[in-house]
């Protein structure tokens, strides 16, 4: 090789060696690093996004000794939960009710709201299945620890009469939202008494509240609105039937296996009813899009 070309060839080979060598070196480092990452073991503290309940701060309890919240706190908690982007499961912190208490409250709620099944003499509803999880809603604006009343117990239940989901505030235990599907003893709609009962069980007194109701062919909308309050109670009921509205939802509730091996089956011939109860801040639109009545049959206002 020409002497003058030797340095050029040498430098080219050396630079290629540097380039390839750096790649190989990095690859080796990566393998070691990945091995460490994928064989990691240890323990981690069970995270909780909420802080313990500061009883000295709130100081309020209800008649049963549970902590109680102001209307503003309730409104804030509901707004926060509605704005959530994700839910973070966690264990109860001090000041929050336990899973047993949540399921117990759920059973009593079902019984008091007339949704009990099984033996009619029992005060609690006979639950074939219940599942309770505690989570806190996380919004985009959240940073740091949240207040304990931002957590909700989600109690999913199934009994002879129906199934549903109850949302209980983790601090007060009040059921602030419920969505029930009933396939036995379908109710006639939502009465003022039922809605007041729901508000009471939610832990929210609605003195001098106006009750209004719109009754349609298959739907009922009921609202309990205090004159100067920041919260109101809303109830929606609509009847489902096979081949008609929401037939896909009717198909979804088809079969459940009970503890004794028997199965219950909902047939389209019986039909189903969907009931939604909710405590909402007054700025929220009272009538949701999917429950707006197509034809109002009866409009009742009761003070």
């Amino acid at each position: 090789m020409d002497k003058t070309k030797k340095p050029a060839v040498f430098s080219l080979l050396l630079s290629l060696a540097l380039i390839v060598g750096s790649m190989a070196c990095m690859d080796g480092i990566w393998r070691i690093r990945e091995r460490r990452l994928l064989t990691e073991s240890g323990s981690a503290e069970a995270d909780s996004p909420v802080r313990a309940w500061r009883k000295e701060k709130s100081g309020k309890t209800d008649t049963e000794g549970n902590a109680s919240l102001s209307r503003e706190q309730i409104a804030e908690a509901i707004r926060h939960f509605d704005r959530r982007k994700e839910e973070f499961l966690h264990n109860p912190v001090e000041g929050q009710i336990s899973m047993e208490e949540a399921i117990g409250i759920g059973e009593r709620w079902i019984a008091e709201m007339g949704l009990k099944g099984g033996d009619g003499d029992r005060e609690e509803a006979a639950l074939y299945r219940a599942e309770a999880t505690l989570s806190a809603g996380i919004t985009e604006e959240d940073s740091g620890e949240l207040e304990p009343y931002h957590s909700f117990w989600r109690v999913c239940f199934l009994n002879q009469r129906g199934n549903g989901v109850l949302y209980l505030n983790a601090v007060t235990g009040g059921v602030w939202s419920a969505e029930i599907t009933v396939y036995e003893e379908l109710p006639e709609g939502i009465s003022a008494e039922k809605l007041r009962g729901f508000a009471r069980l939610a832990g929210i007194e609605m003195e001098n509240a106006d009750f209004s109701q719109k009754v349609g062919e298959r739907e009922t909308l009921a609202v309990l609105r205090p004159k100067d309050g920041i919260l109101y109670a809303k109830g929606e009921y609509y009847r489902l039937g096979a081949g008609r509205e929401r037939s896909d939802e009717a198909e979804a509730v088809s079969e459940y296996v009970l503890t004794d091996g028997d199965k219950i089956r909902v047939t389209s011939a019986h039909g189903m009813g969907r009931i939604r109860y909710r405590i909402a801040p007054t700025e929220e639109r009272i009538y949701n899009y999917d429950t707006d009545l197509t034809k109002v049959v009866q409009d009742v206002r009761v003070g």
Partner: protein, 463 residues
């Protein structure tokens, strides 16, 4: 190794190290975050399944004793899970493969335990903790598959390396061109230096840009220019010395030849008194010429090598001191001397100034003039001294050369008058020492005027 190669290697080294290091740091951060997210997700799944188990045990405390309940539970769990009794014995599992776990007795309250394992083509996070519900006390283990996360990260690493190779393929020719661009001006500089070394002193390089290379090129051109000037000056000085030596040899040879000839004649022959006197007269005459030549040469050499302190002198006073000698010179030839001087001072060396006046008078007398006028005028910033005669003058074409050493317009006439052609050369040199400007004016027929402009001292200007 050439600079070009060094630059190219540096590019390769810096690029390789920087790209890989930056990539590693970025990917490591991403990978670690992704694994943390995976772990967090696994913890959430554990929490969810823990609640499922607790809810079941709350409603059916004896559920774990019945195999049908366990099968139903397996279906309820959202992820593959396993149950162990409080003492660590196996109860049930829906996992494909049972991993080996550390002792359950090491569990800490309030803390979730985890282990990440990679098996075959799956990476999973195993989370385990004690679950107590009523009188039931079990260990729950959940398996959360994070293979998707790991595969995504490995994909990113592979993509990064492909990107690296792509940038290398682009970078190599780019860095080659950049290195070439940086070193080409230096090569041009080297070639120019070679040409100048070979004698092409007028060669220059193009000095573009304001960077260090541009500045180097400009400095190189400046240096080349100075070298060219110096070479030209040295060549001129060498030629001048050659000419001087040649002229000196010639001026020495001529009178010596005559002296030797006449001396030989006196030595060889017996001559009549008149012939001896004639020969002796000729020898004397040529010897005097040689003596005058040697004296003037000495003066020229002294002027070259010595520095002369100048002092402020009144022109009128200088000429007052020189008048006797000038009158004697002119009186011998019957030439009338006129002196008209304005008041003024110049910075001069008296003896040198005297030499100037004597040489100029001598030239005027040799030009067979009748009148000599010495006039002094004070200008704005100079004192103008003019020595004008009405002799034969100097042909205009010769005016530029008469101040050269040994140059004589009419050699034969000058030698007769003991001239050596050094007088005006001496006057020019003395004028340079005084910072004065020398100017000769003549039409070659009606005489010659020699003008010397001496700079006025600081206090005399614009006065």
């Amino acid at each position: 190794m050439k600079l070009f190669h060094k630059i190219f290697l540096c590019f390769a080294l810096i690029f390789g190290l920087t790209f890989q290091s930056a990539g590693y740091l970025l990917l490591d951060f991403s990978y670690e975050n992704a694994i943390e997210q995976g772990k967090r997700y696994a913890f959430q799944e554990f929490c969810h399944n823990q609640y499922l188990l607790q809810s079941l045990l709350y409603l059916e405390p004896e559920a774990l004793a019945e195999s049908e309940s366990l099968s139903r539970l397996a279906e309820e769990f959202t992820v593959p899970a396993a149950l162990y009794r409080a003492d660590g014995t196996f109860l049930f599992s829906s996992m494909d493969t049972q991993p080996a776990f550390p002792s359950f007795t090491d569990a800490e309250e309030g803390r979730l335990h985890f282990q990440i394992l990679e098996r075959e083509d799956k990476s999973c996070v195993y989370v385990y903790d004690r679950v107590e519900q009523g009188e039931t006390d079990v260990w729950l283990v959940t398996e959360t598959d994070i293979s998707g996360i790991v595969d995504a990260q490995r994909g990113m690493i592979a993509y990064f390396q492909r990107l690296y190779l792509l940038f290398v393929c682009i970078g190599i020719p780019v860095s080659y061109l950049l290195s070439k661009m940086l070193t080409d001006p230096i090569k041009a500089l080297r070639e120019a230096a070679k040409r100048i070394a070979q004698g092409r002193y007028s060669d220059r390089i193009r000095a573009g840009g304001r960077d260090e290379i541009g500045e180097l090129a400009a400095s190189f051109n400046q240096m080349a220019e100075k070298i060219e000037e110096k070479i030209a000056d040295l060549s001129a000085a060498a030629r001048e010395k050659e000419d001087f030596a040649a002229n000196l040899a010639h001026e020495l040879k001529t009178p010596l030849t005559s002296v030797i000839g006449y001396a030989d004649r006196l030595y060889q022959r017996s001559l009549e008194r008149e012939e001896v006197k004639s020969a002796a007269a000729y020898i004397l005459h040529e010897s005097m010429r040689l003596e005058a030549l040697s004296r003037k040469l000495m003066d020229l050499f002294v002027l070259k090598r010595q520095s002369f302190p100048l002092e402020e002198l009144s022109v009128k006073e200088i000429f007052a001191g020189l008048k006797e000698g000038m009158d004697a010179m002119c009186g011998e030839r019957g030439v009338k001397l006129h002196i008209e001087l304005q008041e003024g001072s110049i910075r001069a060396e008296y003896d040198l100034f005297e030499t100037v006046v004597q040489n100029l008078l001598d030239n005027a007398l040799k030009a067979e003039c009748q009148n000599i006028l010495i006039a002094g005028e004070r200008e704005k910033s100079a004192y103008r001294l003019t020595i004008r005669d009405d002799g034969r003058g100097i042909p205009p074409g010769e005016l530029g050369r008469v101040t050269e050493a040994f140059y004589m317009v009419d050699k034969s006439r000058a030698r007769k008058q003991h001239g050596a052609g050094l007088g005006l050369a001496l006057v020019r040199r003395i004028a340079d020492v005084h910072g004065a400007r020398l100017l000769l004016e003549s039409d070659g027929k009606t005489g010659c005027a020699v003008r010397l402009d001496f700079p006025l001292p600081e206090g005399e200007r614009n006065g």
